[in-house]
């Protein structure tokens, strides 16, 4: 066979494989959306879940998901940023930092159910936080830290050393160079990384089942004092999220419309994750454009 023919065949096979992947994804997405979207309504998105009757919503679960996401990012972003900056800008290349990098890599491939059980033993039992938003947020932080740290480290590593030298040559210190030149230049990819990790957190269930709990007690949305247990902001109340809700309905849901609720909730979850992804791309592109041209 001549090279041209081999190339043609290879091209065909690659197209086929890529096509297969696209078909599987589109079919999966299509199925979830077609099954679920008809069930989505304003009522569904805002009203509390019902355990025994039909017509329940996912309002509280949706709120819990966003609140947990916010708290998890609030805790993990500063730590990841610091760790990423240290690893890429300050750390010497030696065995110790090599060990740190390996550890982060191992942590980032930790199964989330293990993170959940660790969170249960550590935050829920040991620190007596109970099944609560706080336990959940800490578990999600454990889950998110390694991934976010790596993505921030990579974003910084992609900034050319020319930029750092330019800063030093102007008499700027390393701290000034890192905070005022390198991090701003890496901002588009850092933000993309943060938003993508937000999508992962939002869809996470296994790490939350044993930490944030599987119940969503009624919330008083007129009470925003975080120290009241019925306040939406209370960090010590149990908080079932959307993903956990889907898992629970499918394993032990006894409401008559369990299937429809599950389908609707799945569609909402998928749409939210998709929105995160589009937002990440859009923000990244916009920021990049803003930095490179007017």
């Amino acid at each position: 066979m001549n090279a041209k023919r081999v190339d043609k065949i290879a091209t065909g096979i690659l197209y086929g494989v890529a096509g297969l992947v696209v078909i599987i994804l589109v079919a999966l997405l299509g199925f979830i959306l077609v099954e679920g979207v008809p069930h989505i309504s304003w009522h569904f998105l805002t009203s509390p879940a019902l355990a025994f009757e039909a017509g329940g919503g996912i309002g509280i679960q949706l709120f819990n998901s966003f609140y947990l996401l916010f708290l998890a990012l609030l805790i993990s972003l500063p730590i990841s940023l610091g760790a990423g900056i240290y690893l890429n800008e300050y750390a010497p290349q030696n065995t110790l930092t090599g060990l740190i990098r390996t550890t982060i890599e191992i942590l980032s491939s930790l199964p989330s159910v293990v993170v959940g059980l660790f969170g249960y033993l550590f935050f829920v039992v040991q620190f007596k936080l109970g099944f609560s938003i706080l336990s959940g947020a800490f578990a999600l932080t454990v889950f998110n830290l390694p991934i976010l740290t790596r993505s921030i480290e990579e974003a910084l590593a992609n900034i050319s050393d020319d930029q750092r030298e330019a800063g030093y040559a102007l008499g700027l210190s390393r701290w000034e160079t890192v905070t005022k030149i390198v991090v701003p230049a890496a901002l588009p990819s850092i933000i993309t990384g943060v938003v993508l990790s937000a999508g992962r957190i939002f869809g996470e269930a296994a790490a939350l089942i044993y930490t944030a709990g599987q119940s969503a007690p009624a919330l008083d949305f007129s009470d925003w004092n975080p120290f009241d247990i019925s306040s939406p902001l209370s960090p010590l109340r149990p908080a079932e999220t959307l993903a956990v809700h889907i898992w629970k309905i499918n394993s032990e849901g006894i409401m008559p419309d369990a299937k429809a609720v599950s389908a609707g909730a799945s569609a909402v979850l998928i749409i939210a994750v998709l929105l995160f992804n589009f937002l990440a791309r859009w923000l990244g592109k916009r920021l990049y454009k803003h930095l490179t041209a007017e």
Binding site: S160, Y168, A169, L170, G171, E176, P184, L291, A293
Partner: protein, 269 residues
Amino acid sequence: MADNSMTTDQRNIMKFDPKDHEIALSTEDLRVFYGKSEAISEGDLQFERYKISALIGPSGSGKSTYLRSLNRMNDRIATVKGKIMYRGLDINSNDIDVYEMRRHIGMVFQRPNPFAKSIYENIAFALRQRGMNKKQDLDEIVERSLRQAAMWDQVKDDLNKSALALSGGQQQRLCIARAIAIKPDILLLDEPASALDPISTSQVEDTLLELKQNYTIIIVTHNMQQASRISDYTAFFNLGKVLEYAETGDIFTNPQVDLTNDYISGNFG
């Protein structure tokens, strides 16, 4: 081709008499090590004030390493021994505030490296970091620096545009403007025109000749025409040693060292 082993002993290093020439910067027995290997073994040079001194030599001869040692850009990757004398101070000693020193000895790099900021911010940024906050002062310095770098007329209406949108030659001149905005004494340039087309190169050269009135310039170049066009003195580096340092005219018409002759006539390097 000359036999290296016979000619490496040959050296011709000019020394200035400080009574006739004001020395802006000089090095004494400068030695640079990457790990254990020695990149520069003897660097004894004096640079006269308000002149352009060119460092030439084949790739790997150590000229860039030498230049980058002068404002201690090599601190993190190499060990630099010996003295670098600036205004009676050894700036290679440990108790020198390196960041402050670099405000006196600025640098422009081989590849243009403007910040991902606006043209205006590229220049104003470092000034602001040192406490200059008055808009009027900043405006004035931005304009003056861009004028000195011969690009004010081209960009005066686009100061808020991103510097990354400029052409390579303009970016490099912006880097020069940025370097002179903080008013250094000495400007180090590491092959500033090697990534530029001939037209941009000649613009950068004109800029340097203009700047010579107020700055001491030390430039590394691969381009021998460039060295002969713009420099007053030329140092020839080979294998980490300075073999010859003399007035540029003498180096190019009457080199005293055989290797220098070989190099400038294109026999190697």
